[in-house]
Amino acid sequence: MKVKVLFFGATADSVGEREVRLELPDGTFADKALEEILDKCEGLRENHDVGQLHFSINQEYSNGKETICDGDELAVFTAVSGG
C-alpha cells in the first residue's frame, strides 16, 4: 500500500522534502511505519533525537498502535513551537 508522509519546519529541512510517498506492507502498525520512515528518509536520525519526534496519522497524533491504511496521510515533526 502507498502512503503520503509530510514534513514540516525542522524535519522538512532535514529530509530536504516537504512530502514523500512510501510503499508499506499492508497492515503495518504505526510504530513500525515510523521506523520505516526514519530508515528511508535520510536526515531524520542524523538531525533529531527521534524519541522527541511527533508522528501523526490523518492529522491526529499517533499513539504508535494504529494500523496504517492505504492512502493515509502521515507526518513527522518536532515538538511544536507556535504561539
Partner: protein, 142 residues
Amino acid sequence: MKFFELTSEPLDVGAIARRIVPEECGATVTLDGYVRKFTKGRETDYLVYEAYEPMALKEMEKLIDKALDKYEIAAVGIVHRLGKLDIGETSVVISVSSPHRRAAFESCEWLIKELKRTVPIWKKEVYADGEVWVEGDVSGEQ
C-alpha cells in the same frame, strides 16, 4: 460559540477580541502574543511561522471544545498568523468571553499553554547571523 483560524494577514487584535460579545457575558480576556526583539539576549531579526494547517485547525478546535467544557465560559476565538512576522507583530490572539472574569483569565491562560504544546505550528527565528527552527518547550512557558 467559537472560531479558530490561520491566516497570513496581519491580525487585528481588537476585531478578534470584539467579534463575539455574548449578552450574558461581562468580560473578555484577550492574549496578544507578538514577536519579541530579544530572546535569551540574542536579537531576533524576524520570525517565520509554519503550520500543518488542517491538523492545526483540528487541534485548535479540540482545545476550544475542551476549554468550553472545562470552564464557565461562553465564547472562545483563536487566530494564529503564519508566514514572516516582524518584531512587535502579533502571531496569535486568543480571546475568551465569560459571565465572570475569573474563568476568562484562567481559560485564556490554559489555552495558550495548551496551544504551545499541541497545535502543530512551528516558529523559525531568524537572526543577523543565522536561523533556527524552535523546538517546543514541554512546559509551554516561554
